[in-house]
């Protein structure tokens, strides 16, 4: 993700565009007109379809793209951004049209499982209150579980990585218990935990704990011996060796664990919400499915995509900040 944007900015630096060619400026408006026109034709054939908000969306896209096309003449950074982004936006808008044709237009996919984009947008708008609420609950649950899992994982990882006696007892436990998918504990967790929220937090934490511990421990125990030797001859005590040498040296590894843990936490969150917890996006999906409201299912999936990728991006940003010293050594 970051790598791609890096690449883009590099490319932008090498060929400074003075103007944006007409085809590039027109691609997005034309694509939205095509998609819009297709939808209009489909809507003519199927009158009961409520498409007002979808139509409105296209007027907005059209409007914004025209405004941007004008604004880029006066603002070079925007021009660079548009030069880079126009193909992906064009493709995205056209793919909405294709989706529309396949579903609402030609009924190639069975209803009600595959609604058209207009239906999904309508669900998104009409159910926004509940969707927002679900997203909020998911966020709180995700963060509580993730942060708990990371803290416990870092502590246990550092202990296992640093002390050979902790490693002797901890490593077998980690190797046996760790690979069990957190979701497999659900039946047990529901019995043991006082509430479904607590059990979900625990499960997410467990899912995060394993990769974070594993990667932290290996990072710590693989600290270059010469860094530790140098620090010792500088008069470092144990705390300095652990916190100022071994842990910083392990940070690149720790971040791999954090990313793996984040992926595992998304999975566990959605599963835990759909089987136990009575709130959140996972719950919303299975609830909407129960009512056969697939427009809402897709709406929730879209929210999830945005939500999870935002969280992932934030972790990437954090990594870029913390590992700024690696810039120029490693290509991410």
């Amino acid at each position: 993700m970051t790598f791609m944007s890096q690449l883009a900015s590099d490319a932008a630096v090498t060929n400074k565009p003075s103007t944006l060619p007409w085809p590039m400026q027109l691609a997005v408006p034309v694509a939205s007109l095509i998609t819009f026109g297709t939808h209009w034709l489909i809507a003519q054939k199927a009158p009961p379809l409520e498409t007002h908000s979808y139509m409105l969306l296209f007027w907005e896209i059209l409007g914004v793209s025209i405004i941007l096309a004008i604004a880029q003449k006066f603002w070079p950074p925007l021009r660079k951004w548009m030069r880079h982004m126009w193909p992906i936006f064009t493709a995205a808008i056209l793919s909405f049209g294709i989706w529309d044709v396949i579903t609402a237009g030609m009924h190639l996919l069975p209803l009600p499982y595959f609604p058209g984009p207009a239906t999904v947008l309508r669900s998104l708008i009409s159910d926004r209150g509940l969707l927002f609420d679900s997203t909020w609950h998911s966020l709180v649950l995700l963060l509580s579980g993730y942060i708990l899992g990371v803290i416990v994982g870092l502590v246990s990882g550092v202990c296992i990585g640093w002390s050979s006696s902790v490693r002797y007892w901890g490593m077998p436990l980690l190797k046996v218990v760790g690979p069990i998918p957190a979701t497999a504990w659900i039946p047990l967790a529901m019995v043991v935990a006082p509430s479904s929220i607590v059990s979900a937090v625990g499960l997410i934490a467990l899912a995060v704990w394993f990769p974070v511990t594993m990667l932290t421990a290996s990072g710590i125990s693989n600290t270059r011996a010469s860094y530790l030797d140098v620090a010792r001859t500088l008069g470092a005590g144990r705390l300095y060796l652990i916190f100022r040498v071994a842990i910083p040296a392990a940070v690149p590894n720790i971040f791999i664990g954090l990313f793996m843990g984040l992926g595992a936490s998304f999975l566990t969150l959605v599963v835990a919400e759909s089987v136990g917890v009575k709130s959140g996006l996972g719950w919303y999906v299975s609830w909407a499915q129960g009512w056969a409201e697939y427009g809402k299912v897709f709406a929730a999936l879209i929210i999830m995509a945005g939500f999870f990728s935002t969280v992932m991006t934030l972790l990437f940003k954090l990594r870029d900040r913390v590992l700024v010293w690696q810039k120029g050594i490693i290509k991410w």
């Binding site: 860094y227 001859t233 500088l234 008069g235 470092a236 300095y240």
Partner: protein, 261 residues
């Protein structure tokens, strides 16, 4: 920390288990003895595998000898300490710290950074790296990185500075410049220095005394005082005489060597 101290190495034995047969062991140092005066710059020269680095690690306190006595001044060496700085061939700068923070690391490790922060600037100047203060180590050339490593070791005012082939990885020109740099630091601070090298010219150019080591097991074979005035001329007759003497001693002069490589 106090002024420079001498080092006394007395009948040190150290063996290591053989990697392929852990029950047997190889004697790396067989009763080695020598001493270095306070403020002296001595070199250990010898073929690779003769136990030079092992000896340096013992003096640094990173390893423990099987038997024998190691003294700095009058104190027994009981483990690593900021009194005995160590610089390796690889600068081993902490890549996650800026140049300035690397130099500060010695103070931070001892927990005296707050009181002594003003000294950092002095050491940055001493090694001429003010301009790179906020850069990260991977932006530095080999010579610059090694200067940072020297400053990092010297900021604790060690009584002894141990140098394990510190210039071994540098190109010939940088290397000669850095030899002068180290000499300047030494003349400036009069820290006792023990330099491990297998560059005979470097040893003659820099040291007050050269200790020639032979392997299997490692011991001091010969000591040569280099009584030339500094700065030394690498092309002078007396310099070359020392060179010949050492090469002959190591059986590398003219005739084919009959010592194990």
């Amino acid at each position: 920390m106090a002024a420079a101290s001498g080092v006394r190495v007395h009948k040190i034995y150290k063996s290591f288990p053989m990697p392929d047969a852990p029950s047997t062991s190889r004697l790396a140092l067989g009763g080695i003895s020598f001493s270095i005066a306070a403020s002296e710059l001595a070199s250990l020269v010898g073929p690779s595998g003769c136990g030079k680095s092992t000896l340096l690690r013992l003096i640094a306190g990173l390893d423990v000898p099987d038997s024998g006595e190691l003294l700095v001044g009058t104190e027994k060496i009981a483990g690593p300490s900021a009194e005995r700085g160590l610089v390796f061939q690889d600068p081993n700068l902490f890549p996650w710290l800026t140049v300035r923070r690397n130099i500060e690391a010695g103070l931070a490790a001892r927990g005296v950074l707050r009181e002594k922060r003003n000294e950092v600037d002095e050491f940055m100047r001493l090694v001429g790296l003010e301009a790179f203060a906020n850069g990260y180590p991977h932006h530095l050339s080999g010579g610059m990185a090694q200067r940072v490593a020297l400053a990092r070791a010297l900021i604790n005012h060690p009584k002894v500075l141990l140098l394990d082939e510190p210039l071994g990885a540098l190109d010939a020109f940088t290397r000669m410049r850095m030899q002068d740099e180290v000499l300047r630091l030494w003349e400036n601070r009069r820290t006792t220095m023990l330099l491990v090298t297998h560059d005979i010219d470097e040893a003659i150019y820099m040291s007050d005394r050269i200790l020639i080591m032979t392997p299997a097991p490692g011991r001091i074979d010969r000591e040569i005082d280099i009584d030339l005035a500094r700065p030394r001329d690498r092309t002078s007759d007396s310099f070359l005489r020392f060179r010949t003497e050492i090469l002959e001693h190591l059986h590398f002069a003219g005739k084919v060597a009959n010592v194990p490589a």
